[in-house]
């Protein structure tokens, strides 16, 4: 019995760092931010804290900038995530074939996912530069090639002003996000390697074409990986901050076309010190992310195939 009690105590003590952290830095702040979202507060002494009911949420519904930021983020998420999954799956398929030097390619495709941050976003600003950037240099070269082949003409055509034209800022962010798709690629690669070879053999015996094998063997078998990448991708995209913040120097880009939700939240909280309103923004984000996840989970029940033992 004494030994039992000792292990019981040891359990609590070992878990104590997290229990303290959870209560003090997660649960309490979670409750506090919900409470704050019904208040108006500039952070100057508790005496100035004022209960305002649903005002912050009503204000959000009328705040054109907030809605624009939410729209920008949604457009980005629903473009970048599906495209990212397609690219990641394509890369994984290319890498799943046995050939010499494949490890080197895997390393190259995965690296951007690991190293991307403030520094690499700055490198991308130079890639996107309308006049001197690499991307437009490549587009101009491609266009000249087409003209040389007699397709179309160059008069009146200019490559996109990626960071200066409101129509192109979000595509630029999507392109940049594709560069970091290596994490999802690894998950797909592992899933592809777990597909039993007999399934392909059986399909070939039944005369299935390569496309049919992919559609009816590969896709169902890797559906848990697709599902995982989809949920994680959506959750991540709605919280994008660094990319949008750095690419446009902490502002929203031309015509606020690249103002992302969390960038707006940051501005409201830490530049305008509107802690109540910013908390309401945060809770709306929380509800959106939760709703999206539940939606994907419900959809997954019909579409995802799990091995019996998983």
């Amino acid at each position: 019995m004494r030994a039992q009690a000792r292990r019981q105590l040891a359990g609590w003590l070992f878990a104590a760092p997290w229990l303290i952290g959870f209560l003090g830095l997660t649960l309490l702040p979670l409750i506090a931010s919900l409470a704050l979202s019904f208040c108006s507060w500039k952070g100057l002494g508790l005496g100035t804290l004022r209960f305002v009911g649903l005002d912050n949420y009503r204000r959000l519904a009328d705040d054109a900038t907030a809605l624009k930021a939410l729209g920008n983020t949604a457009i980005y998420a629903f473009t970048a995530v599906p495209l990212g999954l397609a690219v990641a799956l394509g890369l994984a398929l290319l890498l799943s074939q046995k050939r010499p030097g494949i490890g080197l390619f895997r390393t190259l495709f995965y690296m951007p996912n690991v190293i991307s941050g403030v520094a690499t976003v700055m490198m991308w600003t130079w890639v996107f530069n309308a006049q001197f950037g690499l991307l437009n240099a490549a587009l101009r070269a491609g266009a000249r090639l087409l003209v040389a082949l007699g397709v179309g003409s160059l008069t009146g055509w200019d490559p996109p002003n990626w960071l200066g034209d409101p129509a192109w800022t979000k595509p630029a962010l999507v392109v940049m996000s594709l560069w970091g798709t290596g994490g999802a690629m690894l998950v797909f690669l592992a899933a592809l390697q777990n597909v039993p070879e007999q399934l392909y053999e059986a399909a070939r015996l039944d005369g299935a074409s390569r496309w049919q094998q992919f559609r009816h063997v590969t896709l169902p078998q890797i559906s848990p990986a697709i599902y995982f990448n989809l949920v994680m991708g959506l959750i991540g995209s709605f919280q994008v901050f660094n990319d949008a913040f750095i690419l446009f120097g902490g502002r929203g880009g031309p015509d606020d076309s690249a103002l992302f939700y969390v960038v707006y939240l940051y501005t409201k909280a830490f530049q305008h010190l509107e802690f109540g309103y910013a908390s309401a923004l945060a809770w709306v984000l929380f509800v959106i992310v939760l709703a999206l996840t539940l939606l994907v989970v419900r959809g997954a029940r019909r579409l995802v195939y799990y091995e019996g033992d998983q």
Binding site: A15, F109, A119, W126, A137, N229, F241, A269
Partner: protein, 291 residues
């Protein structure tokens, strides 16, 4: 009957040819993609070695006529960049050590120690993975402000000594769960305490997970931007991420220096990636398969 063999031969030759063509196309695609993935880094490197005139030259050229390595020295002295690197190291190492130590402790509690409420708290732990950081960010800031921690490194370090986040705890828990019971029974009979079991038996066996957690933690803290942006305002305390951002807003027109500084900041990550790739892959796949 006699007509069959030659037909078969031609068909198999066609099949071999088709396979070779497919392999060649695959290799070409891989090479093209490799160039695309490296392009931003190469483009930045090209700019970092040019003079400002040549950077802003139209049409742009990839290979600089003159390789100005002196740009790197200039970039690193324009701002106290080495101070930023030192700051980054202090924050990153302190936070990563705390994260690995506390996550291994808590992971051990969830994997090997029977305590009341363990199952309940484990569900809560997993649920916190779904919580967007932004929801708790503001009260956390207000709390740290109350404690006088703003403009110190404490908000960037201390929280990571408190469990180090659900993912890392989960990583250690999965590993400790897989260690056979016989390992600890002999030591237990010898009268080892719970702490001795953890510190002398389990932790030394967990080197691969420790490496995974350390590499992932180091990279995450080195890259962190929002934390320093919120908590630090004295530029002498900036880590590299925030220092670069300041550089961009003050001297953004000096593209060559900016690219040099960005590359120098990324270099430790590239080296760490090259060294620790297998640990990163392991961590990535654990989230993928069990998340």
């Amino acid at each position: 009957m006699s007509a069959l063999p030659p037909v078969d031969l031609a068909a198999s030759r066609r099949a071999i040819l088709a396979r070779r063509v497919r392999a060649a196309i695959g290799l070409a695609a891989l090479c093209l993609l490799a160039v695309l993935f490296l392009a931003p880094l190469l483009w930045a490197m090209s700019a970092s070695l040019k003079s400002l005139d040549k950077v802003n030259e139209f049409p742009p050229r990839l290979i600089p006529e003159q390789w100005l390595w002196s740009n790197y020295a200039a970039a690193l002295t324009k701002l106290p960049f080495l101070v930023f690197v030192g700051n980054s190291l202090v924050i990153t190492i302190a936070a990563t050590i705390g994260q690995v130590l506390s996550a291994s402790l808590v992971g051990y509690a969830f994997a090997r120690l029977p305590w009341r409420g363990r199952g309940f708290w484990f569900v809560i732990l997993l649920a916190t993975m779904m919580l967007p950081a932004q929801v708790v960010m503001i009260p956390q800031y207000l709390l740290y402000k109350e404690l006088g921690w703003v403009n110190t490194y404490k908000p960037l370090i201390v929280p990571f000594w408190l469990g180090g986040g659900a993912f890392f705890i989960f990583l250690f828990r999965q590993f400790f769960k897989g260690i056979p019971k016989e390992m600890e029974e002999a030591a237990r009979l010898d009268g080892a305490s719970e702490w001795q079991l953890y510190w002398q038996i389990f932790l030394p066996n967990a080197k691969p997970v420790i490496a995974t957690a350390a590499v992932m933690g180091f990279i995450a803290h080195w890259k962190d931007f929002m934390g320093p942006l919120i908590y630090l305002s004295d530029f002498r305390t900036y880590p590299t991420s925030l220092g670069l951002h300041m550089y961009q807003s003050i001297d953004g027109a000096w593209t060559n220096y900016l690219m040099a500084a960005a590359l120098v900041t990324t270099l430790p990550l590239i080296v760490l990636f090259a060294v620790g790739q297998r640990f990163l892959v392991k961590g990535m796949l654990l989230t993928g398969s069990k998340g």
